[in-house]
Amino acid sequence: MSKTTQCLIIYLVLCLSIGTAFSQGLAPPSNVAAVDTPNDDGSSITIKWDAAPEDSGISGYQILRRIAGSGLEEVGGMLPAGSTTYVDSTIEKGSAYVYIVRAVTETEATVESEETAPVKGTGEWFHMGKIPLFFGMILFSAAILWNLYDARSGKEIFVRRIPGLEAVDEALGRATEMGRSILYVLGLGQVDNVATIASMTILGQVARRTADYETPLLVPCNDPIVLNVVREMVKSSYLDEGRPDAYNEENIFFLTDSQFAYAAGVDGIMIREKPAAIFLQGTFYAESLIMAETGNSIGAIQIAGTDSEHQLPFFIAACDYTLIGEELYAATAYLSKDPMFLGSLKGQDWGKLVIFAAIVLGVILELSGVNWITTLLQRVR
Protein backbone atom coordinates (compact mmCIF):
# COMPACT_ATOMS: atom_id res chain seq x y z
CA MET A 1 0.00 0.00 0.00
CA SER A 2 1.45 3.32 -1.04
CA LYS A 3 1.93 6.18 1.40
CA THR A 4 -0.69 8.29 -0.42
CA THR A 5 -3.32 5.55 -0.12
CA GLN A 6 -2.52 5.13 3.59
CA CYS A 7 -2.96 8.87 4.15
CA LEU A 8 -6.25 8.84 2.25
CA ILE A 9 -7.62 5.95 4.35
CA ILE A 10 -6.58 7.68 7.59
CA TYR A 11 -8.26 10.89 6.40
CA LEU A 12 -11.51 9.09 5.53
CA VAL A 13 -11.57 7.23 8.88
CA LEU A 14 -11.01 10.53 10.73
CA CYS A 15 -13.81 12.24 8.78
CA LEU A 16 -16.20 9.38 9.45
CA SER A 17 -15.42 9.30 13.18
CA ILE A 18 -15.81 13.09 13.51
CA GLY A 19 -19.12 12.95 11.54
CA THR A 20 -20.44 10.11 13.68
CA ALA A 21 -19.42 11.90 16.86
CA PHE A 22 -21.10 15.06 15.67
CA SER A 23 -24.34 13.33 14.71
CA GLN A 24 -24.32 11.44 18.00
CA GLY A 25 -24.01 14.84 19.75
CA LEU A 26 -26.96 16.30 17.81
CA ALA A 27 -29.91 15.86 20.11
CA PRO A 28 -33.40 15.54 18.64
CA PRO A 29 -35.84 18.41 19.30
CA SER A 30 -37.27 17.92 22.76
CA ASN A 31 -40.74 18.34 24.26
CA VAL A 32 -42.38 18.40 20.85
CA ALA A 33 -46.13 18.86 21.16
CA ALA A 34 -48.91 19.52 18.68
CA VAL A 35 -52.02 21.28 19.92
CA ASP A 36 -55.16 22.61 18.31
CA THR A 37 -54.59 26.35 17.82
CA PRO A 38 -56.81 28.14 20.33
CA ASN A 39 -59.37 30.78 19.32
CA ASP A 40 -59.51 29.89 15.64
CA ASP A 41 -61.99 28.28 13.27
CA GLY A 42 -60.28 24.89 13.47
CA SER A 43 -58.13 25.40 10.40
CA SER A 44 -54.74 25.17 12.09
CA ILE A 45 -52.60 23.17 14.50
CA THR A 46 -49.70 24.65 16.48
CA ILE A 47 -46.50 22.64 16.92
CA LYS A 48 -44.14 23.63 19.74
CA TRP A 49 -40.73 22.39 20.83
CA ASP A 50 -37.94 23.48 23.16
CA ALA A 51 -35.23 25.81 21.92
CA ALA A 52 -31.92 24.05 21.18
CA PRO A 53 -28.72 25.34 22.83
CA GLU A 54 -26.85 27.91 20.73
CA ASP A 55 -23.88 25.59 20.21
CA SER A 56 -26.01 22.65 19.08
CA GLY A 57 -25.01 23.14 15.44
CA ILE A 58 -28.63 23.21 14.28
CA SER A 59 -29.16 25.42 11.24
CA GLY A 60 -32.90 24.95 10.90
CA TYR A 61 -35.97 22.79 11.38
CA GLN A 62 -38.32 20.95 9.10
CA ILE A 63 -41.87 19.99 10.06
CA LEU A 64 -43.14 16.61 8.94
CA ARG A 65 -46.72 15.50 9.32
CA ARG A 66 -48.93 12.59 8.41
CA ILE A 67 -52.54 11.62 8.62
CA ALA A 68 -53.12 8.18 10.12
CA GLY A 69 -52.50 5.55 7.46
CA SER A 70 -50.55 7.75 5.09
CA GLY A 71 -46.92 8.69 4.55
CA LEU A 72 -44.96 11.60 5.97
CA GLU A 73 -44.99 14.92 4.14
CA GLU A 74 -43.02 18.08 4.78
CA VAL A 75 -44.86 21.33 5.43
CA GLY A 76 -43.71 24.92 5.71
CA GLY A 77 -40.19 24.54 4.25
CA MET A 78 -37.07 25.16 6.33
CA LEU A 79 -37.63 27.11 9.55
CA PRO A 80 -34.81 29.23 11.01
CA ALA A 81 -32.59 27.87 13.79
CA GLY A 82 -34.19 29.82 16.64
CA SER A 83 -37.74 28.64 15.88
CA THR A 84 -39.73 26.99 18.64
CA THR A 85 -43.25 27.06 17.14
CA TYR A 86 -44.92 26.49 13.82
CA VAL A 87 -48.57 27.00 12.94
CA ASP A 88 -49.74 24.55 10.30
CA SER A 89 -52.63 26.28 8.51
CA THR A 90 -52.86 23.76 5.68
CA ILE A 91 -54.74 21.04 7.53
CA GLU A 92 -58.04 19.44 6.57
CA LYS A 93 -60.69 19.98 9.20
CA GLY A 94 -61.71 16.78 10.95
CA SER A 95 -58.49 14.86 10.15
CA ALA A 96 -56.07 13.86 12.92
CA TYR A 97 -52.42 14.65 12.30
CA VAL A 98 -49.20 13.53 13.93
CA TYR A 99 -46.08 15.65 13.63
CA ILE A 100 -42.32 15.17 13.72
CA VAL A 101 -39.85 18.03 14.07
CA ARG A 102 -36.60 17.38 12.22
CA ALA A 103 -33.47 19.31 13.20
CA VAL A 104 -31.05 19.98 10.33
CA THR A 105 -27.36 20.91 10.69
CA GLU A 106 -25.21 22.93 8.30
CA THR A 107 -23.72 19.67 7.01
CA GLU A 108 -27.29 18.55 6.30
CA ALA A 109 -27.15 15.88 9.00
CA THR A 110 -30.63 15.42 10.43
CA VAL A 111 -32.21 14.09 13.57
CA GLU A 112 -35.92 13.68 14.15
CA SER A 113 -38.08 14.01 17.23
CA GLU A 114 -40.58 11.39 18.26
CA GLU A 115 -44.05 11.57 16.77
CA THR A 116 -46.54 13.71 18.63
CA ALA A 117 -49.90 12.40 19.71
CA PRO A 118 -52.59 12.72 17.01
CA VAL A 119 -54.41 16.05 17.09
CA LYS A 120 -57.39 17.49 15.20
CA GLY A 121 -58.14 21.11 14.46
CA THR A 122 -61.40 22.16 16.06
CA GLY A 123 -63.10 25.53 15.81
CA GLU A 124 -64.12 27.61 18.81
CA TRP A 125 -67.36 29.54 19.00
CA PHE A 126 -65.79 32.35 21.00
CA HIS A 127 -62.39 34.01 20.74
CA MET A 128 -61.61 34.24 24.44
CA GLY A 129 -58.74 36.67 23.81
CA LYS A 130 -61.28 39.22 22.61
CA ILE A 131 -63.17 39.42 25.92
CA PRO A 132 -61.67 42.84 26.84
CA LEU A 133 -62.71 44.06 23.39
CA PHE A 134 -66.21 42.75 24.04
CA PHE A 135 -66.41 44.60 27.36
CA GLY A 136 -65.04 47.71 25.65
CA MET A 137 -67.86 47.49 23.10
CA ILE A 138 -70.47 46.94 25.83
CA LEU A 139 -69.26 50.04 27.69
CA PHE A 140 -69.17 52.09 24.50
CA SER A 141 -72.67 50.93 23.50
CA ALA A 142 -73.94 51.70 27.01
CA ALA A 143 -72.55 55.26 26.75
CA ILE A 144 -74.31 55.76 23.42
CA LEU A 145 -77.60 54.27 24.64
CA TRP A 146 -77.52 56.41 27.79
CA ASN A 147 -77.05 59.57 25.71
CA LEU A 148 -79.69 58.48 23.21
CA TYR A 149 -82.14 58.10 26.09
CA ASP A 150 -81.11 61.53 27.38
CA ALA A 151 -81.53 63.15 23.97
CA ARG A 152 -84.90 61.56 23.32
CA SER A 153 -86.19 62.66 26.71
CA GLY A 154 -85.78 66.24 25.50
CA LYS A 155 -82.41 67.21 26.97
CA GLU A 156 -80.66 69.68 24.70
CA ILE A 157 -77.33 68.46 23.39
CA PHE A 158 -74.69 70.97 22.40
CA VAL A 159 -72.67 70.44 19.22
CA ARG A 160 -69.74 72.72 18.49
CA ARG A 161 -69.59 74.69 15.26
CA ILE A 162 -68.20 72.79 12.26
CA PRO A 163 -67.51 75.34 9.47
CA GLY A 164 -67.57 72.78 6.67
CA LEU A 165 -71.11 71.78 7.58
CA GLU A 166 -72.34 75.32 8.06
CA ALA A 167 -71.37 75.86 4.43
CA VAL A 168 -73.73 73.13 3.20
CA ASP A 169 -76.75 75.44 3.09
CA GLU A 170 -74.65 78.16 1.48
CA ALA A 171 -73.52 75.73 -1.25
CA LEU A 172 -77.03 74.45 -1.90
CA GLY A 173 -78.45 77.97 -1.93
CA ARG A 174 -75.81 79.08 -4.40
CA ALA A 175 -76.57 76.20 -6.76
CA THR A 176 -80.29 76.97 -6.56
CA GLU A 177 -79.79 80.67 -7.26
CA MET A 178 -77.54 79.91 -10.22
CA GLY A 179 -79.99 77.33 -11.56
CA ARG A 180 -77.24 74.73 -11.74
CA SER A 181 -76.96 71.21 -10.39
CA ILE A 182 -75.24 69.77 -7.32
CA LEU A 183 -72.73 66.96 -7.77
CA TYR A 184 -72.37 64.51 -4.89
CA VAL A 185 -69.41 62.10 -5.15
CA LEU A 186 -69.27 59.24 -2.65
CA GLY A 187 -65.76 58.14 -3.56
CA LEU A 188 -64.61 54.60 -4.12
CA GLY A 189 -65.80 52.97 -0.90
CA GLN A 190 -68.17 50.05 -0.89
CA VAL A 191 -71.15 49.64 1.36
CA ASP A 192 -69.04 47.98 4.09
CA ASN A 193 -66.93 51.11 4.44
CA VAL A 194 -67.70 53.30 7.47
CA ALA A 195 -66.91 56.54 5.60
CA THR A 196 -69.21 55.52 2.74
CA ILE A 197 -72.05 54.81 5.19
CA ALA A 198 -71.43 58.23 6.81
CA SER A 199 -71.38 59.84 3.36
CA MET A 200 -74.69 58.22 2.44
CA THR A 201 -76.35 59.59 5.58
CA ILE A 202 -75.03 63.08 4.76
CA LEU A 203 -76.39 62.64 1.24
CA GLY A 204 -79.78 61.88 2.79
CA GLN A 205 -79.66 65.29 4.54
CA VAL A 206 -78.44 67.08 1.41
CA ALA A 207 -81.24 65.42 -0.58
CA ARG A 208 -83.85 66.78 1.87
CA ARG A 209 -82.68 70.29 1.07
CA THR A 210 -82.44 69.73 -2.70
CA ALA A 211 -85.99 68.36 -2.57
CA ASP A 212 -87.11 71.63 -0.99
CA TYR A 213 -85.12 73.81 -3.40
CA GLU A 214 -85.88 71.63 -6.45
CA THR A 215 -82.19 71.62 -7.33
CA PRO A 216 -80.96 68.71 -9.51
CA LEU A 217 -78.77 66.34 -7.50
CA LEU A 218 -76.30 64.24 -9.53
CA VAL A 219 -74.75 61.20 -7.85
CA PRO A 220 -72.34 59.08 -9.92
CA CYS A 221 -71.68 55.79 -8.08
CA ASN A 222 -68.84 53.35 -8.47
CA ASP A 223 -70.48 50.36 -6.82
CA PRO A 224 -73.79 48.78 -7.86
CA ILE A 225 -74.84 48.06 -4.26
CA VAL A 226 -73.99 51.61 -3.14
CA LEU A 227 -76.05 52.79 -6.11
CA ASN A 228 -79.11 50.91 -4.88
CA VAL A 229 -78.69 52.10 -1.29
CA VAL A 230 -78.19 55.70 -2.41
CA ARG A 231 -81.26 55.63 -4.66
CA GLU A 232 -83.33 54.33 -1.78
CA MET A 233 -81.98 56.94 0.66
CA VAL A 234 -82.48 59.87 -1.69
CA LYS A 235 -85.95 58.67 -2.60
CA SER A 236 -86.82 58.44 1.13
CA SER A 237 -85.55 61.99 1.67
CA TYR A 238 -87.70 63.33 -1.16
CA LEU A 239 -90.71 61.43 0.21
CA ASP A 240 -90.09 62.76 3.73
CA GLU A 241 -90.07 66.29 2.36
CA GLY A 242 -93.32 65.63 0.53
CA ARG A 243 -91.68 66.04 -2.88
CA PRO A 244 -91.63 62.56 -4.50
CA ASP A 245 -92.40 64.26 -7.83
CA ALA A 246 -89.05 66.07 -7.72
CA TYR A 247 -87.10 62.83 -7.36
CA ASN A 248 -85.32 61.81 -10.55
CA GLU A 249 -83.83 58.33 -10.34
CA GLU A 250 -81.78 58.84 -13.50
CA ASN A 251 -79.66 61.46 -11.74
CA ILE A 252 -78.24 58.70 -9.52
CA PHE A 253 -76.36 56.37 -11.79
CA PHE A 254 -73.59 53.80 -12.00
CA LEU A 255 -70.43 55.02 -13.71
CA THR A 256 -67.75 52.35 -13.32
CA ASP A 257 -65.94 50.56 -10.52
CA SER A 258 -62.50 51.25 -11.95
CA GLN A 259 -60.65 53.95 -9.97
CA PHE A 260 -59.27 56.18 -12.72
CA ALA A 261 -62.07 55.54 -15.19
CA TYR A 262 -64.37 56.78 -12.43
CA ALA A 263 -62.17 59.86 -11.93
CA ALA A 264 -62.17 60.53 -15.70
CA GLY A 265 -65.96 60.18 -15.79
CA VAL A 266 -66.52 62.47 -12.79
CA ASP A 267 -64.18 65.05 -14.32
CA GLY A 268 -66.14 64.89 -17.54
CA ILE A 269 -69.41 65.44 -15.65
CA MET A 270 -67.89 68.42 -13.82
CA ILE A 271 -66.70 70.04 -17.05
CA ARG A 272 -69.90 69.45 -19.01
CA GLU A 273 -72.59 69.90 -16.33
CA LYS A 274 -70.74 72.67 -14.49
CA PRO A 275 -72.37 72.02 -11.10
CA ALA A 276 -72.40 75.00 -8.75
CA ALA A 277 -71.70 72.87 -5.68
CA ILE A 278 -69.64 69.70 -5.38
CA PHE A 279 -69.62 67.37 -2.40
CA LEU A 280 -66.70 64.95 -2.22
CA GLN A 281 -67.62 62.83 0.78
CA GLY A 282 -66.49 59.29 1.53
CA THR A 283 -63.46 57.15 0.78
CA PHE A 284 -60.95 58.47 -1.72
CA TYR A 285 -57.59 57.34 -2.97
CA ALA A 286 -55.22 58.78 -5.59
CA GLU A 287 -58.10 60.21 -7.63
CA SER A 288 -58.95 62.77 -4.91
CA LEU A 289 -56.78 65.60 -6.24
CA ILE A 290 -57.80 64.98 -9.87
CA MET A 291 -61.44 65.50 -8.93
CA ALA A 292 -60.90 68.33 -6.45
CA GLU A 293 -58.72 70.30 -8.90
CA THR A 294 -61.23 69.90 -11.74
CA GLY A 295 -64.02 71.04 -9.42
CA ASN A 296 -61.89 74.01 -8.44
CA SER A 297 -61.21 74.88 -12.08
CA ILE A 298 -64.94 75.23 -12.89
CA GLY A 299 -65.44 77.55 -9.92
CA ALA A 300 -67.80 75.29 -7.95
CA ILE A 301 -68.04 75.60 -4.19
CA GLN A 302 -66.54 72.37 -2.90
CA ILE A 303 -67.14 70.65 0.42
CA ALA A 304 -64.97 67.59 0.92
CA GLY A 305 -64.82 65.06 3.72
CA THR A 306 -62.94 61.83 4.17
CA ASP A 307 -61.24 59.67 6.75
CA SER A 308 -58.47 58.73 4.28
CA GLU A 309 -55.68 60.68 5.96
CA HIS A 310 -53.45 60.58 2.86
CA GLN A 311 -56.09 62.35 0.76
CA LEU A 312 -57.08 64.99 3.31
CA PRO A 313 -54.14 67.30 2.43
CA PHE A 314 -55.29 67.44 -1.19
CA PHE A 315 -58.84 68.27 -0.21
CA ILE A 316 -57.63 70.95 2.20
CA ALA A 317 -55.54 72.43 -0.62
CA ALA A 318 -58.14 72.29 -3.40
CA CYS A 319 -61.57 72.54 -1.71
CA ASP A 320 -63.36 75.39 0.05
CA TYR A 321 -64.24 73.35 3.13
CA THR A 322 -62.99 70.00 4.35
CA LEU A 323 -64.44 67.68 6.96
CA ILE A 324 -61.52 65.98 8.67
CA GLY A 325 -61.98 62.36 9.75
CA GLU A 326 -64.46 62.26 12.64
CA GLU A 327 -66.19 65.42 11.42
CA LEU A 328 -67.51 63.31 8.56
CA TYR A 329 -69.18 60.99 11.08
CA ALA A 330 -70.56 63.93 13.07
CA ALA A 331 -72.05 65.55 9.97
CA THR A 332 -75.39 63.74 10.02
CA ALA A 333 -76.09 64.73 13.63
CA TYR A 334 -74.99 68.29 12.92
CA LEU A 335 -77.16 68.70 9.83
CA SER A 336 -80.28 66.88 10.99
CA LYS A 337 -80.26 67.89 14.70
CA ASP A 338 -82.07 64.59 15.18
CA PRO A 339 -81.95 63.59 18.91
CA MET A 340 -81.00 60.04 17.92
CA PHE A 341 -77.90 61.17 16.04
CA LEU A 342 -77.05 63.87 18.61
CA GLY A 343 -77.24 61.35 21.46
CA SER A 344 -75.01 58.99 19.51
CA LEU A 345 -72.52 61.82 18.90
CA LYS A 346 -72.34 62.63 22.60
CA GLY A 347 -71.91 58.93 23.42
CA GLN A 348 -68.93 58.85 21.04
CA ASP A 349 -67.47 61.84 22.89
CA TRP A 350 -67.73 59.86 26.12
CA GLY A 351 -65.82 57.07 24.38
CA LYS A 352 -63.09 59.53 23.39
CA LEU A 353 -62.98 60.78 26.97
CA VAL A 354 -62.30 57.23 28.15
CA ILE A 355 -59.46 56.90 25.61
CA PHE A 356 -58.12 60.28 26.73
CA ALA A 357 -58.15 59.14 30.37
CA ALA A 358 -56.60 55.76 29.47
CA ILE A 359 -53.69 57.48 27.69
CA VAL A 360 -53.01 59.98 30.47
CA LEU A 361 -53.30 57.31 33.18
CA GLY A 362 -51.32 54.84 31.07
CA VAL A 363 -48.43 57.28 30.61
CA ILE A 364 -48.29 58.00 34.37
CA LEU A 365 -48.43 54.28 35.24
CA GLU A 366 -45.85 53.26 32.65
CA LEU A 367 -43.46 55.93 33.92
CA SER A 368 -43.99 54.54 37.42
CA GLY A 369 -43.21 51.01 36.25
CA VAL A 370 -46.80 49.76 36.49
CA ASN A 371 -47.87 48.30 33.16
CA TRP A 372 -51.26 46.73 33.63
CA ILE A 373 -52.90 48.92 30.96
CA THR A 374 -50.41 47.84 28.27
CA THR A 375 -50.70 44.22 29.44
CA LEU A 376 -54.46 44.43 29.03
CA LEU A 377 -54.15 46.06 25.61
CA GLN A 378 -51.61 43.46 24.53
CA ARG A 379 -54.04 40.66 25.35
CA VAL A 380 -56.56 42.12 22.90
CA ARG A 381 -54.08 42.32 19.99
Binding site: I197, D257, S258, H310, I355
Partner: protein, 230 residues
Protein backbone atom coordinates in the same frame (compact mmCIF):
# COMPACT_ATOMS: atom_id res chain seq x y z
CA UNK B 1 -48.54 43.94 -32.91
CA UNK B 2 -46.46 45.30 -30.02
CA UNK B 3 -45.85 48.53 -31.95
CA UNK B 4 -49.59 48.89 -32.57
CA UNK B 5 -50.19 48.49 -28.80
CA UNK B 6 -47.62 51.20 -28.06
CA UNK B 7 -49.27 53.55 -30.57
CA UNK B 8 -52.73 52.97 -29.11
CA UNK B 9 -51.43 53.50 -25.56
CA UNK B 10 -49.58 56.68 -26.60
CA UNK B 11 -52.64 58.02 -28.43
CA UNK B 12 -54.92 57.39 -25.44
CA UNK B 13 -52.35 58.88 -23.04
CA UNK B 14 -52.22 62.06 -25.15
CA UNK B 15 -56.04 62.09 -25.36
CA UNK B 16 -56.25 62.07 -21.56
CA UNK B 17 -53.46 64.67 -21.22
CA UNK B 18 -55.40 66.93 -23.63
CA UNK B 19 -57.81 67.57 -20.74
CA UNK B 20 -55.11 69.83 -19.29
CA UNK B 21 -55.94 72.27 -22.10
CA UNK B 22 -59.74 71.94 -22.00
CA UNK B 23 -62.54 69.46 -22.58
CA UNK B 24 -62.37 68.23 -26.17
CA UNK B 25 -63.56 65.34 -28.38
CA UNK B 26 -60.32 63.42 -27.90
CA UNK B 27 -60.64 63.48 -24.13
CA UNK B 28 -64.31 62.55 -24.40
CA UNK B 29 -63.45 59.61 -26.65
CA UNK B 30 -60.76 58.33 -24.24
CA UNK B 31 -63.02 58.88 -21.22
CA UNK B 32 -65.94 56.95 -22.70
CA UNK B 33 -63.67 54.18 -23.98
CA UNK B 34 -62.01 53.89 -20.55
CA UNK B 35 -65.34 53.74 -18.70
CA UNK B 36 -66.89 51.30 -21.18
CA UNK B 37 -63.89 48.98 -21.13
CA UNK B 38 -63.62 49.03 -17.34
CA UNK B 39 -67.31 48.22 -16.90
CA UNK B 40 -67.12 45.37 -19.43
CA UNK B 41 -63.99 44.02 -17.79
CA UNK B 42 -65.50 44.15 -14.30
CA UNK B 43 -68.63 42.32 -15.49
CA UNK B 44 -66.49 39.48 -16.86
CA UNK B 45 -64.39 39.38 -13.66
CA UNK B 46 -67.52 39.34 -11.49
CA UNK B 47 -68.99 36.45 -13.47
CA UNK B 48 -65.79 34.40 -13.45
CA UNK B 49 -64.55 35.19 -9.93
CA UNK B 50 -67.84 35.75 -8.16
CA UNK B 51 -70.95 34.31 -9.74
CA UNK B 52 -69.56 31.02 -11.09
CA UNK B 53 -67.30 29.86 -8.19
CA UNK B 54 -69.32 31.32 -5.30
CA UNK B 55 -72.90 30.81 -6.46
CA UNK B 56 -73.39 28.68 -9.56
CA UNK B 57 -70.91 25.85 -8.89
CA UNK B 58 -71.76 25.17 -5.20
CA UNK B 59 -75.47 25.40 -5.92
CA UNK B 60 -75.39 23.09 -8.95
CA UNK B 61 -73.16 20.64 -7.07
CA UNK B 62 -75.61 20.77 -4.17
CA UNK B 63 -78.56 20.07 -6.48
CA UNK B 64 -76.72 17.15 -8.09
CA UNK B 65 -75.80 15.82 -4.64
CA UNK B 66 -79.42 16.08 -3.55
CA UNK B 67 -80.48 14.06 -6.57
CA UNK B 68 -77.89 11.40 -5.72
CA UNK B 69 -79.04 11.27 -2.11
CA UNK B 70 -82.67 10.93 -3.16
CA UNK B 71 -81.80 8.04 -5.48
CA UNK B 72 -79.80 6.37 -2.67
CA UNK B 73 -76.50 6.74 -4.52
CA UNK B 74 -75.11 9.06 -1.85
CA UNK B 75 -71.43 9.01 -0.91
CA UNK B 76 -69.55 11.03 1.75
CA UNK B 77 -68.62 13.48 -1.05
CA UNK B 78 -72.25 14.06 -2.03
CA UNK B 79 -73.16 14.62 1.64
CA UNK B 80 -70.50 17.34 1.81
CA UNK B 81 -71.69 18.88 -1.47
CA UNK B 82 -75.19 19.16 0.01
CA UNK B 83 -73.95 22.14 2.02
CA UNK B 84 -73.90 24.04 -1.30
CA UNK B 85 -77.69 24.16 -1.10
CA UNK B 86 -77.37 26.65 1.76
CA UNK B 87 -76.11 29.12 -0.87
CA UNK B 88 -79.75 29.53 -1.86
CA UNK B 89 -80.18 31.83 1.19
CA UNK B 90 -77.60 34.53 0.23
CA UNK B 91 -78.50 34.12 -3.45
CA UNK B 92 -82.17 34.67 -2.60
CA UNK B 93 -81.33 37.76 -0.54
CA UNK B 94 -79.12 39.07 -3.34
CA UNK B 95 -81.84 38.53 -5.93
CA UNK B 96 -84.06 40.91 -3.95
CA UNK B 97 -81.91 43.71 -5.40
CA UNK B 98 -83.68 43.04 -8.68
CA UNK B 99 -86.99 43.96 -7.03
CA UNK B 100 -86.21 47.47 -8.20
CA UNK B 101 -87.19 46.40 -11.71
CA UNK B 102 -90.81 46.03 -10.59
CA UNK B 103 -92.32 49.26 -9.21
CA UNK B 104 -94.84 47.26 -7.14
CA UNK B 105 -92.14 45.23 -5.42
CA UNK B 106 -89.41 47.82 -5.14
CA UNK B 107 -89.85 47.97 -1.35
CA UNK B 108 -88.32 44.48 -1.14
CA UNK B 109 -84.90 45.98 -1.87
CA UNK B 110 -84.82 47.38 1.66
CA UNK B 111 -84.26 43.89 3.09
CA UNK B 112 -80.93 43.13 1.39
CA UNK B 113 -79.81 46.71 2.08
CA UNK B 114 -80.67 46.41 5.78
CA UNK B 115 -78.94 43.02 6.07
CA UNK B 116 -75.86 44.24 4.21
CA UNK B 117 -75.41 47.49 6.14
CA UNK B 118 -76.24 45.86 9.48
CA UNK B 119 -73.81 43.02 8.87
CA UNK B 120 -70.97 45.14 7.52
CA UNK B 121 -71.28 47.81 10.21
CA UNK B 122 -71.42 45.13 12.92
CA UNK B 123 -68.36 43.39 11.49
CA UNK B 124 -66.48 46.69 11.14
CA UNK B 125 -67.02 47.98 14.70
CA UNK B 126 -64.83 45.41 16.56
CA UNK B 127 -62.13 45.75 13.92
CA UNK B 128 -62.13 49.53 14.20
CA UNK B 129 -62.05 49.31 17.99
CA UNK B 130 -59.11 46.96 17.86
CA UNK B 131 -57.09 48.56 15.06
CA UNK B 132 -57.83 52.24 15.64
CA UNK B 133 -58.21 52.39 19.42
CA UNK B 134 -56.59 49.48 21.24
CA UNK B 135 -53.59 49.15 18.89
CA UNK B 136 -53.00 52.90 18.74
CA UNK B 137 -53.27 53.33 22.51
CA UNK B 138 -50.89 50.41 23.01
CA UNK B 139 -48.43 51.90 20.51
CA UNK B 140 -48.56 55.26 22.30
CA UNK B 141 -47.93 53.81 25.76
CA UNK B 142 -45.21 51.27 24.93
CA UNK B 143 -42.34 53.81 24.62
CA UNK B 144 -43.05 55.02 28.17
CA UNK B 145 -42.37 51.52 29.52
CA UNK B 146 -39.04 51.62 27.68
CA UNK B 147 -38.46 55.11 29.06
CA UNK B 148 -38.96 53.78 32.59
CA UNK B 149 -36.52 50.94 31.85
CA UNK B 150 -33.98 53.55 30.63
CA UNK B 151 -33.60 51.90 27.20
CA UNK B 152 -34.78 54.85 25.11
CA UNK B 153 -32.48 57.37 23.43
CA UNK B 154 -33.03 61.13 23.93
CA UNK B 155 -34.43 61.48 20.42
CA UNK B 156 -36.91 58.67 20.99
CA UNK B 157 -37.96 60.19 24.33
CA UNK B 158 -38.68 63.55 22.65
CA UNK B 159 -40.54 61.70 19.88
CA UNK B 160 -42.69 59.72 22.32
CA UNK B 161 -43.59 62.87 24.30
CA UNK B 162 -44.43 64.80 21.13
CA UNK B 163 -46.60 61.97 19.82
CA UNK B 164 -48.51 61.77 23.10
CA UNK B 165 -49.07 65.54 23.26
CA UNK B 166 -50.17 65.53 19.61
CA UNK B 167 -52.50 62.60 20.19
CA UNK B 168 -54.14 64.12 23.27
CA UNK B 169 -54.59 67.55 21.66
CA UNK B 170 -55.90 66.07 18.40
CA UNK B 171 -58.35 63.97 20.38
CA UNK B 172 -59.59 67.15 22.09
CA UNK B 173 -60.13 68.76 18.66
CA UNK B 174 -62.56 65.94 17.82
CA UNK B 175 -64.75 66.49 20.90
CA UNK B 176 -67.99 67.75 19.40
CA UNK B 177 -70.26 68.15 22.42
CA UNK B 178 -67.96 70.60 24.23
CA UNK B 179 -67.51 74.28 23.41
CA UNK B 180 -63.94 74.84 22.21
CA UNK B 181 -63.15 77.70 24.60
CA UNK B 182 -60.57 78.17 27.36
CA UNK B 183 -58.21 75.23 27.94
CA UNK B 184 -60.22 72.99 25.60
CA UNK B 185 -59.93 75.65 22.89
CA UNK B 186 -56.17 75.92 23.38
CA UNK B 187 -55.66 72.16 23.34
CA UNK B 188 -57.77 71.81 20.20
CA UNK B 189 -55.75 74.58 18.49
CA UNK B 190 -52.54 72.68 19.28
CA UNK B 191 -54.29 69.56 17.97
CA UNK B 192 -55.20 71.18 14.64
CA UNK B 193 -51.60 72.45 14.35
CA UNK B 194 -50.35 68.87 14.74
CA UNK B 195 -52.89 67.72 12.13
CA UNK B 196 -51.76 70.35 9.65
CA UNK B 197 -48.09 69.47 10.14
CA UNK B 198 -48.99 65.83 9.48
CA UNK B 199 -51.01 66.75 6.40
CA UNK B 200 -48.17 68.90 5.09
CA UNK B 201 -45.74 66.02 5.39
CA UNK B 202 -48.22 63.62 3.75
CA UNK B 203 -48.83 66.16 0.96
CA UNK B 204 -45.14 66.44 0.12
CA UNK B 205 -44.67 62.70 0.30
CA UNK B 206 -47.62 61.94 -1.97
CA UNK B 207 -46.75 64.66 -4.48
CA UNK B 208 -43.32 63.03 -4.85
CA UNK B 209 -45.08 59.74 -5.62
CA UNK B 210 -47.37 61.40 -8.17
CA UNK B 211 -44.43 63.10 -9.89
CA UNK B 212 -42.81 59.67 -10.17
CA UNK B 213 -45.98 58.41 -11.93
CA UNK B 214 -45.86 61.38 -14.33
CA UNK B 215 -42.19 60.72 -15.05
CA UNK B 216 -43.04 57.08 -15.77
CA UNK B 217 -45.75 58.12 -18.25
CA UNK B 218 -43.58 60.73 -19.95
CA UNK B 219 -40.81 58.12 -20.05
CA UNK B 220 -43.19 55.78 -21.88
CA UNK B 221 -44.02 58.47 -24.45
CA UNK B 222 -40.39 59.38 -25.02
CA UNK B 223 -38.72 55.99 -24.89
CA UNK B 224 -41.35 53.50 -26.03
CA UNK B 225 -43.45 55.60 -28.39
CA UNK B 226 -41.02 58.15 -29.84
CA UNK B 227 -38.29 55.49 -29.61
CA UNK B 228 -40.33 53.27 -31.95
CA UNK B 229 -40.50 56.11 -34.52
CA UNK B 230 -36.95 57.41 -34.51
Amino acid sequence: MEVLGIWIAAFLTLCIFSFLYRDNPFYRFAEHLFIGLSVGYSIVVTIHQGFIPLAWEPLSEGVNALQSELTSEGTPETKEALSGLFKIIPIGIGLLFFARLSPRHTWLIRYPIAILIGFTAGAAIPNVLQASIFEQTYGTLTPFAAMHAGSLSTGDIVGAILITIGLICTLVYFFFSVEHQGPVGWLSKVGIAFLMIGFGAAFGNTVMGRVALLIHRVGFLINDWLGSIF
